[in-house]
Amino acid sequence: MTYIQLAYGDLVLPALLVVMDGALSLALRLKLEKQLAIATVRMVLQLVLVGYVLTFLFAAVSLLWTALAAFIMVLFASREIVARQKRRLPGIWSYGLGAGCTLLAACTVTIFSLLTELRPDPWYHPRYSLPLLGMILGNTMTGISLGLDVLTNGLVRERAAVEACLALGGTRYQALLPVLRDAMRSGLMPTINAMAAIGLVSLPGMMTGQILAGVEPIDAVKYQLLIMFLIAGGTGLGTLAAVMGGARLLTDHRHRLRLDRINTETST
């Protein structure tokens, strides 16, 4: 495999394009220059840092370090899930549910693919496990946060309908079922749309990356298919767990709807 290596100096010219955006912002008074500068600096720092961390991890090939890196990735994902909710679940559950479900879904699917298909040696080799986990995490996270958002908003909006069903002797699952279905559909929609549009509208980043690195297109396609199947599985599993968990938290053992347990975020 051959590919054209980049030196840091090769990035100066492309970086001028960002400077051009900044100049545009100043000229048109978009007031974006500060945000643009911060975002650019963050991107450079975060990516270079990740590059060195991955270099270290690939050299170490240690189960402990790999697991720690995976854990930190899950933490950032669950923080992102909480930040995307307009109405939050109570206390520790706001983080716990998101973290638990991402951890469950993304890790299950990643480990499944490592053990059954890719079989690197050792099975947790960070060169395979971390990129896989990262891609699955990103998509699972989107599914979970969309699903939870539709669940909480749907329950608030459909409160009269849910309570009518409960008052007539419906169980909490019967009463919540229409909202649960909506939440599951919303969680899975982005993945389904991505699968339908892939290859026609967009060339996925990972596949492009492998092609740039000299991999035969058809081999890159196989990897991309693997990833998409894993993403579909992880999103389905994670969204189901999060939506069912959320439904359980917002009802109680006497089959009551407990909207008093939702904290509405008004400040942001």
Partner: protein, 198 residues
């Protein structure tokens, strides 16, 4: 017989007995907690106290089973499907009640959106009556109805009462309270109820 003793929910603190074939009217200014009380008896909100039906504690049975016996009907009933008849386990069985309350028998396949507030209120009542509950907790069940429909609802409930059903009927209409209630409970701002015998 429904026994409520030491029922507490927020500021509400209430005890009373309700015999079979008895209808009690519940009155009091808006916002005083009539709805909260009825919802608490049906166990739809967290609350404290002992509530029994024929000596059986409500906690002794699953909440859905309790609510099939002690059924709360909201003033504005909710609808979980777009189509009217989806809310009934047997629409044909409900038809006699539907026509009796002056609703068109063809309204089964209608979208709920098409119904007026009064039509929804009557259909909500029919839906609840299909359960043949022992106790009905009616929250202003005629608030959106014209006088002919009010009379139809009152006679229908009176029939159920004479067949053994117990009813708590919350209303803002004093005349209705004395018409339907063999006793009248008046709720005051401190969350207690007082009995007025008509």
């Amino acid at each position: 017989m429904l026994t409520v003793s030491g029922l507490k929910r927020l500021h509400i603190s209430v005890s009373f007995d309700l015999q079979d074939s008895e209808c009690v009217a519940l009155q009091g200014p808006s916002g005083v907690g009539k709805t909260l009380l009825l919802r608490s008896i049906a166990d739809l909100d967290p609350n404290e106290g002992t509530v029994k039906l024929d000596g059986t504690l409500r906690e002794a049975m699953p909440a859905p089973a309790w609510r099939k016996r002690v059924t709360y009907l909201a003033a504005e009933p909710g609808w979980w499907s777009d189509i009217v008849q989806d809310h009934f386990s047997g629409w044909d069985d409900a038809l006699p009640l539907v026509t009796r309350l002056g609703l068109p028998p063809s309204c089964g396949p209608w979208p709920v959106q098409r119904l007026s507030t009064g039509e929804r209120q009557r259909l909500g009542l029919v839906r609840a009556l299909m359960l043949q509950s022992r106790v009905l907790l009616l929250d202003e069940p005629t608030s959106a109805l014209d006088s002919a429909s009010v009379a139809a609802v009152e006679s229908l409930i009176a029939e159920r009462v004479s067949n053994g059903t117990s009813v708590v009927w919350s209303t803002h209409d004093d005349a209705q309270a004395s018409r339907v209630g063999s006793r009248v409970f008046v709720m005051s701002a401190d969350g207690s109820i007082e009995e007025n015998r008509p």
